[in-house]
Structures are given as structure tokens and as C-alpha cells.
Symmetry: D2
Subunit: 262 residues, 4 copies
Amino acid sequence: MVRTQITLVQIDNYGPWTVTPEPRCEADLQTLQAQLYVDLVQLVGSQSGYLFYTRFDNMIGLTNGLDRDDHTRIQDSVRNRYPISVSMSVATAQTPKEALSIATDGLQKTGSAQDETRRSVLYSEVIDTDERTADDVEIAHFDVIDATRQYTDELDAFDAFLRIMRGYLLLAEYLYDNHAALTFFIGGDNMITVSPDLGEEVYQRTINHVDETVGIPLQVGIGQGPTARRAGMAAKHALETCRQHDTRVEEAAANHDGTTSN
Amino acid sequence: MVRTQITLVQIDNYGPWTVTPEPRCEADLQTLQAQLYVDLVQLVGSQSGYLFYTRFDNMIGLTNGLDRDDHTRIQDSVRNRYPISVSMSVATAQTPKEALSIATDGLQKTGSAQDETRRSVLYSEVIDTDERTADDVEIAHFDVIDATRQYTDELDAFDAFLRIMRGYLLLAEYLYDNHAALTFFIGGDNMITVSPDLGEEVYQRTINHVDETVGIPLQVGIGQGPTARRAGMAAKHALETCRQHDTRVEEAAANHDGTTSN
Amino acid sequence: MVRTQITLVQIDNYGPWTVTPEPRCEADLQTLQAQLYVDLVQLVGSQSGYLFYTRFDNMIGLTNGLDRDDHTRIQDSVRNRYPISVSMSVATAQTPKEALSIATDGLQKTGSAQDETRRSVLYSEVIDTDERTADDVEIAHFDVIDATRQYTDELDAFDAFLRIMRGYLLLAEYLYDNHAALTFFIGGDNMITVSPDLGEEVYQRTINHVDETVGIPLQVGIGQGPTARRAGMAAKHALETCRQHDTRVEEAAANHDGTTSN
Amino acid sequence: MVRTQITLVQIDNYGPWTVTPEPRCEADLQTLQAQLYVDLVQLVGSQSGYLFYTRFDNMIGLTNGLDRDDHTRIQDSVRNRYPISVSMSVATAQTPKEALSIATDGLQKTGSAQDETRRSVLYSEVIDTDERTADDVEIAHFDVIDATRQYTDELDAFDAFLRIMRGYLLLAEYLYDNHAALTFFIGGDNMITVSPDLGEEVYQRTINHVDETVGIPLQVGIGQGPTARRAGMAAKHALETCRQHDTRVEEAAANHDGTTSN
């Protein structure tokens, strides 16, 4: 049974900071945001979690396996190395959507994203270690069939980008509205969905919907595991099976993630 | 008169590399991509250019002021520090769309994005120094009116994200299709358009279109300058005027960018 | 009883790589080396270990608490993100000197640092989890008394640097030759010694020796703990006591490290 | 004629910050310092300068070719991305020692390194563009003959490190005291000297002195150029000649730096 632990990361009072006392250099802001993402994705990743950049000032993590102390340390690290601080909110539920909703709610109650006095708040409801199971996390890894030949090598680079974004946005909206799942664009033509336990049929219908609506043909590998890393790696291997066998949806066998540790 | 110099940056043979010999750890790939963006945005930025992450394996730069040698050095730096290399293509035209189209074409002619033998190619048509003018670049900087109160502090974090993405995608498509401009999401609720010389009225119509179609209220500051940095800083100051005067569209006076150098 | 786990990290075949096919840009090499250190110090640090940059192409870690899998993951991360790979060798002994000697020996047996075929070797003898104790690690944190007033604000910056280096080198040689300890310069006027269980008297004699020989007055805080992080934090708090009470040597009370986790 | 432009970079009030309100996590401080070095070495390097980490809280740059605006931008970038700020002082003289002495003096006059109110000070005396010449900079690049076979593959890693440090410190002291040059350890077994115009004989005597005193056999390549990058690259090529011809001292022919730009 899937029990997703989601972490919402929010830079404290970021908007006002970017224009005080004067608007700051955009290249510096881009560097700051992306560097923060680099550091957090590494720190979360070293504990087998995933982090998605989303809006950069609001990032969303899949953090099964990280406890309250792990989150505190990451916050301390940010405060020790950046001119800004981050608040975090962690929650768990059977669907990623619900977990994020609880996490968002927990954070909003502590104050506004632009509250000058809110600094490094941590609201957390992590899963107890002894309640964790081997299939707490489900991840689906999508990519666009033949994207390099059909888009990158063929279209104007912005046109190619817009088409992939259109496919991504539709996919994300469909899975969020109908299946309480959270979908993230992760670069190239790749998208990752953090899902409740959905089953191959749902993914097949989803792919059909995207193809019919915006003409973007997707394939998907699905994996489960105790952590984002293991579920994600299983999903990647399943996606490789799609590529080899020319299929559209593949689910990894249980505990077949190609790795030996968490 | 606007003469936009656009650089297309493409990681060579990236897709195959990410799954050879086995799929690589996603946290590492995210770190690699974002770190590459951090380094390139700094290097391009140190010469007063802008770089946008777009698909991460394909990035788009606004590079007025960088010459062929500057590009070569950045490529060398990537080759010296990363397990991958990047090809680049630089072109100039009166509209950003046309410049990117020429740049894409130039790169595609040198080989596929997944050509195993294509490494660090550079196709370049940079603007001669003595042909550069004080208003070669026009930048529009948008944000969502009252985004923190209406979205971040109010909605579920993913719902807020999806709405902003929906607004962004519509804005980008509209300006690309109708005005040959390139629009990038740069984090939070901010978007930057690299435009030909458009005029306030076009921006007003654009904002109306986005508001009427998806209900996202935008405001925009417009700036011009010899480089991305100066045009962008002028646009930011103009956007501050929107915020202070509660207006929707503001254009910076000529050469009023709040900075003293390029 | 102290049982130090030391990790030797060595970039594979680095020297030849830096000049093939031509000497590479020094700024790029400096960036590469320091970035590698940044990443490794974060990854080792997220598991409560310390890493010292030493020669940059050979780094030394204090890694009590990291197991074989943790090391493997760090190696994978380097291979996924850098143009070079690192070999590692882990060993444990009652003195840091002996542990490093075993680790060095283990690595040398797998091939030369400039062996073209040696890639990402891992030789490891980590401490079993159930054999770990609360005082496996001892750290001494030194700084120069009144360094800012006497050196930084008074001398030419290079002169100040040379004096501190002279003090550091003497300290490192003395503690290595006489007490089987490893001492690292960590920036500013700070030095950290990874020691066997030495006792305050030894540190007092050491400080006297450095002061008499090169005229650099040191103070030191000593801490113990199950990991580098906890021992190191205890040592820092003890050094604060020196600063407040104007004493030269302070040892933290057992388990008084100012933190609550490992 | 050599005219060295030296920049002293100093983190403002760093020591007190590292222990306020409590001592900060050492892994975070190491990450912060090294990341700052990574960023500054890239930014200085993108303008063809060199930066050396020295004490990390005090860094020394060879900055011929960077003007006052370049320095200001780097300071802004630090302030926009770090929890600390840096002050800088730039000076020019016929010897590096004198330039650094003037720069240090200029900075000390603005306040103490631990002055709470001193923030991002910039004292600068840069070389006018029209006074720059093709041989303003001289760099000597040293390494230890046969270091891998004699040290890295043979000795305990710390013993090897101490020997190289001993050689480095002697070299640095000798060249500073006798020839007004600044010498930096740059990793592995490599050292770079920023020198006035010295001539091969001086380098030969220097090498003999180090070999006779501490038994470390060095070889050296010497290069000149308008910037650190070009002089440094010429020196590297000259050092390659040493390696190929088994000689101890080689000087690059004028303007033979293997590159085509500055």
C-alpha cells in the first residue's frame, strides 16, 4: 500500500528579498535558485529521496525515509550557506495530492510566504521507521516516443520545447485531477509522476488521453519501492523495457529495481 | 532597432548517455543538469548575457555582447569539468524567433542531438562589435498580480504551480505565434520575454488575452539596452513602477536601467 | 576507546588527464577540484563525516558511520557528474595514522594513481554498526590566538598566510610523528586534528612546542563522539570555552556536544 | 616589463560569524568556503585572471585585465548569493609582493577584518587599459619530479602530503623573501609562482635550494603574457617541455602560449 511522504520547501519571504533595496541581477537570482536546487536535490538524494524544482521558490520533495532530523539539518545547511532561509512542511497520506495538501496547509498556518518574521519553520509528520514498507512509493517515469527525431532534430528549439511543455501540462493536470498524483518535468522529454497505487490500465488511459488531445505520444515505466530512489530506479528499468520491446506501459516486477540498497 | 543574438546550447548525445550502460541515478542527473545550468548562467551572465534552462538538455541564451571566443571558452570549460560536452549555435536576426530558427537550423545541419560523434560543435554568427547599438535587446519582465496572496498562501502548492504554468504556457504560445518572441519561466511567478520591438499596446493586448483565457492577471515591465543585463534591469525597474503605481504595463525610459555599465 | 575510520579518496589518473591532449585551463582545473571537494564534503557531511581537501587529487576523510554502500554511492555520484572518477580506500585502526596507512596500502595494491585502467576502485574495511561506540572519534580544533589583530589586520596578507602555514606544518608534523594523529588546515587560522585518545597534557605540550619553535600561539578544544560531526562540534564548543575563559586547552565533557543527533 | 595587478579578497567579519550564535556545522563552513572559491575562481577566470584559495577567508587574485567594474560585479554576485560579503582591494606594482602590500594596506585602512560594519568595501588601483602590455604578467608553474612514483604510490598519503607541503612552504618563503614573488599550492604536486621578471637562472637557483634543503626535486615552466591565463598557459606548455626533454627549467618563447585570445 502506497503511503507517500511529501515535503514542501518554501524560500522565506523570497519575492520581497529579490527587489530589496533594488531589483537584484537576474543572472545572480537564477544562479542562487538553481544552486539551492542542486544542493537540496543532493542532500535529499543522499537519503534516497527525490526533489523537484517546480517554481524554484517552492519545491516539492518525495521524502519517504527522511525523518525530522534529516529535514532540520538540511534547513541548517541552507541557513549556513545562503542569504535566504527555507521553511519546510512534511506530511504523509495515501495519495501524493492529499499529502501535499496537508503539508501546504501546515505551512500556510505558520504564516505567509511573504511574512518577514517567518524563518526556517518546520512542520512535520514523518512516517515512523517501523511503519515503513517495501512499497510505500510508486513512481511512473514517462518520456516522449522518438522525441529526438520528431522534435529536437526537426523543429525550431522553442517550438519543440512548447510542444513538450503542452504535453507535460496536460499530463500533470489529468493525473492530478483524476488520480491525485503529482507530475514533474525533469528535463529533456522526461516526466516523473509520484502516484498512489494506480495500475497499468490507468497509465494506458492517461497516455491515450495525452496522445489524442495534444498529439504527444508517451511511454511509461512504473516502479514501486520503499524510497523514491528505489521506486524511481525500478521505473527507469521498466521504461527501458518499453524502449526495447516497443511497448507503451511497463510495470517493474516487485523488488526488481536493479539496486541492492535503499 | 532590435537585433537579437540567440545561442542554442545542446548537450551532445545526452539521452543515450543517461541510460548507458544502465539508467543513472535520477538525483545525480538532476544535479548534473542544474549544476551545468548554474555554471553556464554565471559564465554567460558575467558577459552581461542571459541563459534560460528550458529543457535543461537544450538551453536558450540571449547573448548580445558575447563573441565567438566567449562561446568557445564556455564550451572548453564544460568539457574540462563535466562528463558530457555541449554544442552551441549562435545566430542574429530582427526577431528572437527567427534568430533561434537560424541557430537551430545551423546546429541540426551539423548532426543529430543523438549523434555519437558530434562533440562541442560551434556554429556562430555573432554581431560585429561595431554594429552593436544601445537598443539591440528588448526584454519584458512579467509577474502575476498578487500571486502570493491569491495562490501561494491560498492554494495547494501543486494547484498554484499548475495555474502559473498554465498562464506561462499560454503567454509563451501567444507571443511566439503572434509576435515572434521567446518567453521563459524564471521561477516563482516570474516570466521573461525576449522580444522584437513591440510597443506597449501589444503587451496590453497580450495581458488581456491571458487574463480572459485562463484568468491569470499579469503585469509587465519593458526595457531596452545593448545587452540582456541592461535591458533586463530596465525591465525590472519598470515592473517595480507597475507595483508602486498599480499599473499593468510600464516601459522604461531610454537608457534608464539603473546601472552604469554594460 | 578511539577507533578511527579513515577514507582515502584519490582521483584516478588525474595528472595525465590534466595535460591530455594539451594542458587544460588552470581556472577550470581549480574549479573542478574545488567543486569535487564541495560535493564530497557535503555528501560525507550528510552522513556526519568530515572530509579534508589536502592535495585535492588526494583527499582524506574521517568517516565513522559511513558503510560500504555509502562510499559506493558517492563514487557513483562522481562518475555520473564529473569527467574523472575516484577510487576510495577505507580502513579502521586505533590511531588515525595507522588507519590511513592501511587504507593507503590497500589502494596502492590495486594499482598506481596513474594507472590508466584503474577506475573507481573501492577497498573497504568499515566498522560494523554493532561495534560502534559513543567515543570512537576524537577531534581537536585549534586556532591562533588573536590572529586577526596580530596577523590579518597587521601584516601583508601573504606574510600572514606564510606564518600560519608555518605553524600548521609544524603542528601537523609534530602530532603525526609523535602521536599518530592527522592534522588539517581548514581555512582562516583554524586547524583540525583527528587524533587517537590523547589527553589534555599532550595537547598542552604540543601547543608549547609550536609556540616555542615558530612563535605561533595556539589554543585548542577537544571533543569525542561517535562521529566526526559530534566529536567536532564538541571540540568547537570546548574551543569557545578557551576563548571565553582565556585558557589554552579545554576538553568537552563526555557527550556534551551541543547537538541531539548523530 | 612586468606590472602585476593583485587583488586581495577578504570575507567580512567571517570569524565571528562562524560562531554566532553557536559554532556552525564544520561541513557547512567547508562547503561555503570552497563554494565561494569555486564561484570566484570562475568569475575571475572568465576575465582571464587567476585566483588562489590561500586561507579561504583571505584569497589572493592575479587580476591583470579586470577593471573596477568587474570587481564590483563580483562583489554584488557574492552579496546576492551568500550569507556573507567580501571586501576587495586591488593594487599594481612591479613586484607581486609590493602590489599585495599596497592592496593589504588599502584594505586595512578601511577597517578590521572583524569590523562588524565593514561590508563589501572596494579599494582599487587598476591598470588603465591603454597602459597594458603583452608581458605584464609572469607565471612560473612548478611540479615535483616523479611525484606519483616516489610519493603517492609509495608513501602513506599523509606522509606524502607533508613532504609536498614542506617543499611548497620552503619554495614560497624563499621566493617571497628573496624575489618578491607570491607562490601558491594549487593541488596535487603543483605550485604556481606569480613573479616579477626573474630570468631562468633565479629559478635554477631556487630549485637547487629546495632540493638541497628538503630533498624535493622540482621542475618549472615559465611564461609571460598580458593576463594570468595567457602567462599561465605559456608556463604550462614550458613545463611540458621539461617533462619531455627531462630538463629542470624551461621558459616559453615570447607570445607562445598555445592560445589565440586573451
